[in-house]
């Protein structure tokens, strides 16, 4: 897919929760085609300690409004600086990058979309697209506490949502892999995005139940274009760049111990 380097305009900034910022971007020209699971590399201005671009997954694409949404966890100086953007500011994006999640494999398939923390971000767009294509997405979203469950209303508008929280303040108490639907329901396949420990245990579940499973990795990267070779993941084909061969991988192609 063709990549672009553009200055987009910030049309709206909101804070679903104090540690997360949702930035809605638009452009004077139509936004290019983007696949669910692809990501962007943003240039952070005004943060002396931030040298490299920051890879951010595509949260949602509102084609009608020509808007691209980025849901960002403010964990470091770079992402905190992104949280200071105001409507009207410009943000330089290199996008769309990576391969994205698999499109629907068969009409009506049930696809479990498992997200943890800010890892839920790309699942919103993916669930929407799967639904449009005729699949039956089911969301399983986990977080530390109820207030870390992001964009719940938007997820619920698309498909059924099941949740877990570590403190039990919402949904079932515990980790996503402990949720009861995993033992009561069948899924044709699973797509997962979140902290690595979570994705590993989801991958184990998938393997045990012989369910096809893909995960979205977040290895540290510089260029996003496959040039710096820094974000490599060890796969059955050897070291490959997460930015170009991923970020989404089928667990059978990884060398995780599951």
């Amino acid at each position: 897919m063709q990549k672009f380097l553009r200055d987009l305009t910030v049309s709206e900034v909101s804070f679903p929760h104090k540690r997360y910022v949702l930035i809605k971007l638009t452009d004077t020209q139509p936004l290019p085609p983007m696949l669910p699971g692809q990501f962007v590399e943003v240039k952070v201005e005004g943060s002396p300690s931030t040298f490299l671009r920051r890879p951010i997954s595509i949260n949602y694409v509102d084609t009608a409004a020509n808007q691209l949404w980025l849901l960002i966890a403010m964990v470091g100086a770079g992402t905190r600086t992104l949280g200071t953007l105001k409507a009207g500011d410009h943000l330089n994006l290199l996008f769309p990058l990576g391969n994205g999640f698999s499109p629907m494999q068969q009409q009506g398939e049930t696809v479990l979309l498992v997200g943890g923390g800010v890892g839920v971000a790309p699942l919103l767009q993916y669930g929407k697209v799967l639904k449009q294509q005729g699949a039956q997405p089911i969301f399983l979203l986990g977080s530390r506490t109820a207030e870390d469950l992001l964009q719940l209303d938007l997820f619920q508008a698309i498909a059924p949502v099941y949740t877990t929280t570590e403190d039990g303040s919402a949904g079932e108490k515990g980790f996503v892999t402990q949720h009861s639907i995993l033992s009561t329901m069948h899924f044709d396949r699973i797509s997962c995005c979140g902290p690595k420990p979570m994705m590993v245990s989801v991958a184990r579940y998938a393997k045990q139940t012989n369910t096809p499973c893909e995960v979205s990795l977040e290895n540290m990267m510089a260029c996003g274009l496959g040039a710096c070779l820094c974000c490599v993941e060890k796969t059955v084909k050897g070291n490959v760049c997460v930015c170009t061969e991923g970020p989404v991988f089928n667990i059978n192609d990884l060398t995780w111990e599951i």
């Binding site: 290895n219 040039a227 820094c230």
Partner: protein, 303 residues
């Protein structure tokens, strides 16, 4: 419009801006984002005789105005390059050079021999200064004998211009430059990365999988300028300057200091189109300053 074409050891470049090895892939990765024809030359990533998996992840750490990497020469080997990559890039409307690395002089020589057969590759750059591989790599670049052993071996099998990429991790870079010139190098490029380290205090470990890595980016520009200045005074072969260049001003600093051409490395990660912007910026600056040709500034530092 000033004439910004340069002649580098017999190779004519439409402008003095080259993309540094390992920072621009094979060029094709950037084709959507920049017009490759507007770049003076592309130096494709480090190529070795045999395929290499490189080092484990993590390979990168962000630092103040720069980054560390320990990729470790991951590549699919020279034969894969010749059969699969070369056909895709041989017709690019720019110069394509190959960066060659190895673990022994014989490896360099054999790898270079196979590239010698590729008509569309006018020259190679020898990486005798990679800080991220256990055998060879930087080991060759930090001694006169080691550097000469590689250049002499390659000189026997490679019959086009050889550019030798020098390491800044030495006591006297001018000595190494003179040594490779004596051994038959047609040009030198400096500098490769500075050996550095980053620490994760929570995990109480080095950030990088092999502990140390190569430092690049604007943070090393002052060291790179000093090295180019020392080397340009020490040798009569052309010098290619690199190290933290991200603007036309940076590039002009290196040209004035004695570089015939410059390379842009890490800056490609921040702006994939930076190389063309720098080339245009050099041209614009020359026009503003009434220079008819870039030759009027190369090595023209007063001191």
């Amino acid at each position: 419009m000033a004439d910004i074409h340069v002649n580098l050891a017999g190779i004519s470049l439409k402008n003095p801006v080259m993309t540094a090895s390992g920072t621009f892939g094979y060029g094709t990765e950037f084709a959507d984002l920049v017009n490759l024809s507007d770049i003076g030359a592309i130096i494709v990533k480090g190529t070795t005789l045999h395929p290499r998996q490189g080092n484990d992840y993590p390979r990168m750490a962000e630092t103040a105005s720069g980054m560390l990497n320990c990729v470790g020469l991951q590549n699919k080997g020279v034969d894969y390059f010749c059969t699969h990559i070369y056909p895709q890039i041989k017709d690019l409307d720019t110069r394509v050079l190959v960066n060659v690395s190895g673990s022994a002089p014989e490896d360099y020589a054999e790898c270079a021999a196979r590239i010698n057969a590729l008509d569309a590759i006018p020259a190679i750059e020898l990486n005798i200064s990679c800080p991220n591989v256990k055998q060879g790599g930087m080991a060759f670049g930090v001694t006169v004998e080691g550097a000469q052993s590689v250049v002499k071996a390659v000189r026997k099998t490679y019959h086009k211009p050889i550019i030798v990429k020098l390491s800044p991790n030495v006591t006297n870079i001018a000595d190494i430059a003179r040594a490779v010139e004596a051994a038959g190098a047609d040009a030198v490029s400096c500098i490769n990365t500075l050996m550095g380290m980053a620490i994760d205090i929570e995990r109480r470990r080095p950030v990088l999988s092999i502990a140390t890595g190569g430092l690049s980016g604007p943070c090393i520009k002052p060291v790179a300028l000093r090295c180019v200045w020392q080397v340009a005074q020490a040798v009569s072969i052309p010098v290619v300057g690199l190290g933290g260049i991200s603007t036309a001003t940076d590039a002009i600093e290196f040209l004035l200091t004695g570089a015939t051409a410059i390379q842009i490395g890490t800056a490609n990660f921040l702006d994939p189109a930076v190389s063309v912007k720098v080339a245009q910026g050099i041209s614009h600056w020359l026009d503003q300053h009434g220079c008819r040709s870039v030759q009027e500034i190369i090595g023209q530092l007063e001191s």
